[in-house]
């Protein structure tokens, strides 16, 4: 089963742990609902659409409200250290939480004490904490965009905000940044880099480049990276190999985006709605 850990942009949203469902443009957990816009709700919506297409179960969510004050995130971290071992998840995707190295380490220790080691995916704030803690190699998949890849590649940067200029300038040299991230042990077993071209890489080098369909406007649309991570997490949870799931998710996101006929003003839910068609087409091998 897939577990997703993250926050929602509603300060009054309580800590909730349970099955997550999707109805229209809202996700629900333990009777609490929130609109899918971007962030963890978008990841969950994409994962649910994928699981439904595969005939699998809905994901288990650990969610709380946090608008950046970090209060919700700290409650969530603390809850995870006490309760994550109660379940036997095959895959855990950690997402939007306030990066905090000490709490990250405590959660990672709790995960290591689980009966079965799950596949570990980290994206967004949790990926920042994983890199800062020096524990990136404990993870199976990171899903950075190009700006976040520069942060992973800069061994000194504690956050993308402080990435050094000479690395930021390497935007057109993604393969070099990937190599640099691995050389400083700041990358997970697999990296899925999202951008104009998506790259799947490991410590040996780039294993796949996904270029089509190309919709340049996707970069401007908030939440498209969350879709990729959500699809990948659902596929991995359905026993797909991590590298195949990651590359496939990048492809599916591009196709769903293509079907939505995106402009820079498109909102992510419009793309999420097209995920089933994209998956169906890819499963049928038409593309």
């Amino acid at each position: 089963m897939l577990a997703v850990v993250g926050t929602v942009p509603d300060q009054g949203f309580p800590l909730a742990a349970g099955k997550v469902t999707l109805k229209g443009d809202r996700i629900y957990i333990q009777g609490h609902g929130i609109t899918v816009n971007r962030g963890t709700p978008a990841l969950l919506a994409a994962a649910i659409k994928t699981a439904k297409t595969l005939g699998g179960p809905e994901p288990f969510g650990y969610l709380i409200g946090d608008i950046g004050l970090g209060d919700g995130s700290r409650l969530l971290y603390e809850y995870l250290t006490r309760h994550i071992k109660e379940h036997d998840f095959g895959t855990i995707a950690f997402h939007y939480v306030q990066p905090d190295v000490d709490w990250h380490n405590r959660v990672l220790l709790a995960v290591k004490e689980m009966t079965r080691r799950p596949v570990l995916i980290a994206d967004a704030g949790f990926m920042y904490a994983a890199k800062m803690s020096g524990m990136a190699s404990e993870y199976d998949l990171f899903a950075p965009d190009v700006g976040e890849l520069a942060f992973l590649a800069d061994e000194n940067a504690p956050h993308p905000f402080y990435t050094r200029g000479f690395i930021m300038h390497e935007e057109n040299r993604v393969p070099d940044m990937i190599a640099r991230a691995y050389s400083h042990k700041n990358a997970s077993r697999f990296l899925l880099v999202k951008g104009k071209e998506d790259y799947l890489a490991d410590k040996v080098g780039i294993r796949a480049t996904i270029k089509n369909p190309a919709e340049e406007t996707m970069e401007a649309i908030g939440g498209t990276g969350d879709i990729v991570t959500g699809i990948a997490a659902a596929l991995i949870s359905a026993d797909w190999e991590i590298d195949k799931a990651a590359a496939f998710s990048a492809w599916a996101n591009r196709l769903a985006g293509h079907y939505s006929k995106p402009t820079p003003a498109t909102q992510v839910i419009e793309i999420i709605d097209h995920i089933p068609w994209a998956l169906a087409e890819l499963f049928l091998g038409k593309k």
Binding site: R38, L109, M127, M132, M135, F151, P160, F161, E216, P264
Partner: protein
């Protein structure tokens, strides 16, 4: 598994001592440090006063260590109290500076500005913010909710309602966009 977890715990303790997610606030004089410490402690921040690292060649003999991610929120609190620091820098690499490189993408009717990990897109004709993408801190979805659909002039500045370094990066993109869209 027991031994490997014990070994892992040792590594984690070592990481904690290295303070990779801490920043330091540099002030002009010691009385400002004392005042800032009092303000931040009263607000519940996990901070401590310490000696400056050797790389710091300016300011007084004391600095305040703080949670770096929440830099935007902490700087706003200190500004409101009239005790802004000379500088806020990462504790482990005090010479690092915030990003000052902007990537610009022109989509015809829309313009996108990226600063570090944050991207802001506006419709050129109306100056309406149509999308915010990137980032990983929890204030990013909140900032998007508050800014998208408003014009550059109507929207609150990310520095006013954001809390983290992602919010700070969005502020830089917001300022750059305003600069580029000003007549």
């Amino acid at each position: 598994m027991l031994f490997s977890n014990l070994f892992f715990k040792q590594i984690l303790l070592k990481t904690r001592e290295q303070n990779p997610d801490k920043g330091i606030l540099i002030f002009e004089n010691t009385s400002q440090v004392i005042r800032a410490e009092s303000i931040l402690k009263n607000q519940g921040w996990g901070i401590r006063v310490m000696g400056p690292p050797p790389e710091i060649q300016h300011g007084c003999d004391l600095v305040i260590e703080f949670p770096l991610i929440e830099e935007l929120n902490i700087l706003r609190s200190l500004k409101q109290a009239g005790v802004s620091p000379l500088e806020a820098v990462p504790a482990n690499s005090p010479l690092l500076k915030p990003v000052d490189i902007f990537q610009i993408k022109d989509y015809g009717a829309y313009l996108m500005v990226r600063a570090a990990n944050m991207k802001l897109t506006v419709e050129k004709e109306t100056l309406t913010i149509v999308n915010i993408s990137g980032g990983g801190c929890p204030d990013v979805p909140y900032l998007a909710k508050e800014l998208v659909g408003k014009t550059l002039n109507e929207a609150p500045a990310p520095r006013e309602i954001g809390h983290t370094l992602c919010g700070y990066a969005l502020q830089l993109a917001f300022e750059e966009m305003k600069h580029r869209c000003s007549p």
